[in-house]
Amino acid sequence: MAGETESGTGQDQPVATTHPEGAQIKTEERAEAPNLVVSTGPRGLSERVKQAAIATFITAVLAFFFFPIRTSIAPGGLDITWRWSLYALALIFAFFGKLLVDAYLLSPAGPRVRAMVSGLFILGFVILYAWHPLGDILFGTGQFEELLGSILIGTVFGAILLGLVVLISRATGKIGTAATGVAAQKKADRISTFGKWALRVLFVVALMLPWIVMFLFPNRDRQLIDISILILTYVMLGWGLNIVVGLAGLLDLGYVAFYAVGAYAYALLAQYFGFGFWMALPLAGLFAAMWGIMLGFPVLRLRGDYLAIVTLAFGEIIRVVLLNWSEFTGGPDGIGRIPKPTLFGIEFNRGEGGFADIFGLDYDTIHRFIFFYYIIFVLALITHFATMRLRRLPVGRAWEALREDEIACRSLGINTTLVKLSAFSIGAMFGGFAGSFFATRQGFISPESFTFIESAIILAIVVLGGLGSQIGVVFASIVMIGGIELLRNIGFLSVVFGENFDPTQFRMLIFGLAMVLIMVWKPRGLISARQPSAVYKERKSIGADVVAQGEGH
């Protein structure tokens, strides 16, 4: 129930007041499962400890074959390495973690219990950390650091996410609290004002970014601009997928297929016909859109969850074909030496007629980085503006109507297949643009780059940002892509946590966990005021504000 998930935000609001009256009735009607027991959580300290013990026991069972036992390849077969220390630490964390989460989030405790629980936790942690030899004896040399590393990353990400939530909630009013009538409208208005302002600020920062970076970090400018390009690519992909998932409500798990089509379209056009980037770009988008229509036409009649699986299967089919059709696509070896884009025919190379030569600058590879940055910046902006404009067209309104209620749409005479198809193909087209940019930036593509993981990352970004929220996608990309890339590049982490420490191996784990937690906590994403583009002047008791909290379909 939405009431339960909302109550998880730690606000002291009674569950019943989190909905307008009409919505409350609606909830009861909609409730399929008779989930009548409202979880009150543990009350007394002994009850808390008991629950924590249960959680620890379950963790012990779950982790038994994964933490202490590690199968590794040894001469003459597999071998088992024991890691009891890791197991012990995991259990300790499960126990205190459950206590802490309960005390602060699930069933808020009094200040004394809170202080006791967190005091114990911090004390234990400090002792372990300060008394390093003890940690080594208890947990084995090296393992303790590794574990601390993952905890630190978790904490950093948690803190960043929490910070974002607090920031946004400051700007938009309390998050997760009552959204009734006028208050809801105010909240929604505040969110949209906040969104506008945040977008403006972000726009200016993004516009100036290469110069800011060059000024502030002259030694690492290439690397930072490269990361920014990567982030912007994901922002663009997220916005493209947002049209399909966020606006039209179609769960597309094979979005990477269109990204691949765009990338291969450009690479093959360049290889076989000598096309340049600017000529191939519109064609790549067109190809991707055509594929969208081709794939979409048969499957879009399916219901939501079937659609998800079929799109996933199509994504895999395209990858398998790219992998095995070696004569045409190069197979697993991919396609290399994809030409770089030019600025009105000027290439970014050293020597006569290059960019630096014509403009009288010293040759520097950074020129090309900046050029790439602005290309993807403009492409992403085009995606954004196209989306915003489309939302105001009849077709955009039909998307949103479709997302809210397909049957109602059909009764009103909307051709749902056509409407879905338009969302699908337009989303695919932006994926295609992004793909051909990816091809030219990398200079080399292979089917490796277009696995399901990629689709999952894009979807995670859209989900975390809030389905349908444009600014949310930007935040989610910055945090999830940029954050991890930065962590990888921060030198002192590897000093503290050992040479082998690699935060990227936790990346997908964090993505997955964040997806689950955010969906459970706020089903419509962190920034979740999706206002319908068309509204009545007078708001009804059940409107988009209620829908935004996870009601309805």
């Binding site: 998930t5 779950l62 933490f67 597999l78 079937y306 699986i309 079929v310 996933l312 784990l509 997955g512």
Partner: protein
């Protein structure tokens, strides 16, 4: 002809594994109407648990026949129990809080859970492929076709084990669903959860048990997979999951015999496709079947046509 029969046996074996996983999909879909996307990764968990237990017990090809049977039985039970706990936890954490939310929400958490499980296994057990020595070797030569230029058709012990145990499990399972109180409450929840609750069925418990049973069967499939192919990596559940889902859809989602039938049909199609057309495109064949069935025959072979209520 010999080749055909050999492929038929191989197809049945593969199909049994798909069928075992597909039951998990179909049961969950039947009862709460969602695709448990993480089910394929539950299968991976089962395979990894089985691998660890096999190594702990020191089972190898040299173990004597009686001991081997007992030991494998032990492996089976342990991995079923531990995997069942995983299945239960996934439902508790990711799906139960979202019951009654909008339709895409549990699907998205399911994808999230799938990513979590995959990467949990990768982080804790490493990304490299884990090979084991064949444990059960040999078989019954059915007939020798070498005299006229053919091959020996052989039903290996391994294949026999897989087919027989799948059959036994199916019989037991059908009994569970049709004759026991648990099966009755499960069917009741499938029809109408609210009414079932009013009549005293503990819906939450029934749904949890559905996940537990699905996960236990996936663990069986995981052990079979490990014994049959002898290699594991953290990614096996992805492909196996989609294929098992295809099997469930092919047989008619929500129908238990359908899941088994769909699994076997899919296994046969895949094996024959690789044998007579091309190995590279066997996945494409399986996925195309998924799309074709969904488009032209959404209720599958044995499923009931779905009526969309307003």
């Amino acid at each position: 002809m010999e080749y055909f029969i050999q492929q038929l046996i191989n197809g049945l074996t593969l199909g049994s594994i798909y069928g075992l996983i597909a039951i998990g999909y179909t049961m969950v879909y039947g009862i709460i109407g969602m695709i448990n996307f993480a089910h394929g990764d539950i299968f991976t968990v089962g395979a990894y648990v089985a691998l660890a237990v096999i190594l702990l017990l020191g089972i190898s090809g040299a173990t004597g026949a009686t001991m081997l049977v007992l030991a494998l039985l032990l492996v089976l039970v342990i991995s079923m129990v531990f995997t069942a706990v995983w299945g239960w936890t996934v439902e508790r954490i990711a799906y139960r809080p979202l019951r009654g939310s909008f339709r895409l929400a549990p699907l998205i958490t399911a994808i999230g859970m799938s990513i979590v499980l995959q990467n949990f296994i990768q982080v804790t057990q490493g990304a490299r492929v884990k090979p084991i020595q064949p444990i059960i070797s040999g078989g019954i030569p059915l007939f020798d076709g070498r005299s006229d230029g053919g091959i020996i058709v052989q039903l290996s012990w391994m294949q026999l084990l897989i087919i027989v145990s799948t059959f036994v499990l199916m019989v037991g399972f059908t009994f569970l669903i049709t004759k026991t109180a648990l099966g009755r409450s499960q069917r009741a929840c499938e029809q109408d959860q609210k009414m079932a609750a009013l009549l005293g069925v503990d819906v939450d418990k029934t749904i949890s048990l559905t996940f537990v049973m699905g996960a236990a069967l996936a663990a069986v499939a995981g052990l079979m997979f490990l014994l049959l192919y002898g290699v594991l990596d953290f990614y096996i559940g992805f492909l196996a999951g989609i294929k098992a889902f295809t099997a469930a859809v092919l047989g008619g989602i929500g129908s238990l015999p359908g899941a088994m039938l769909g699994g076997i049909v899919l296994g046969l199609i895949e094996v024959f496709w690789s044998a007579y057309f091309s190995v590279e495109y066997k996945d494409v064949a399986a996925f195309s079947i998924l799309a074709i069935v969904l488009i032209f025959m959404p209720s599958g072979l044995l499923g009931k046509p779905e009526v969309e209520k307003v």
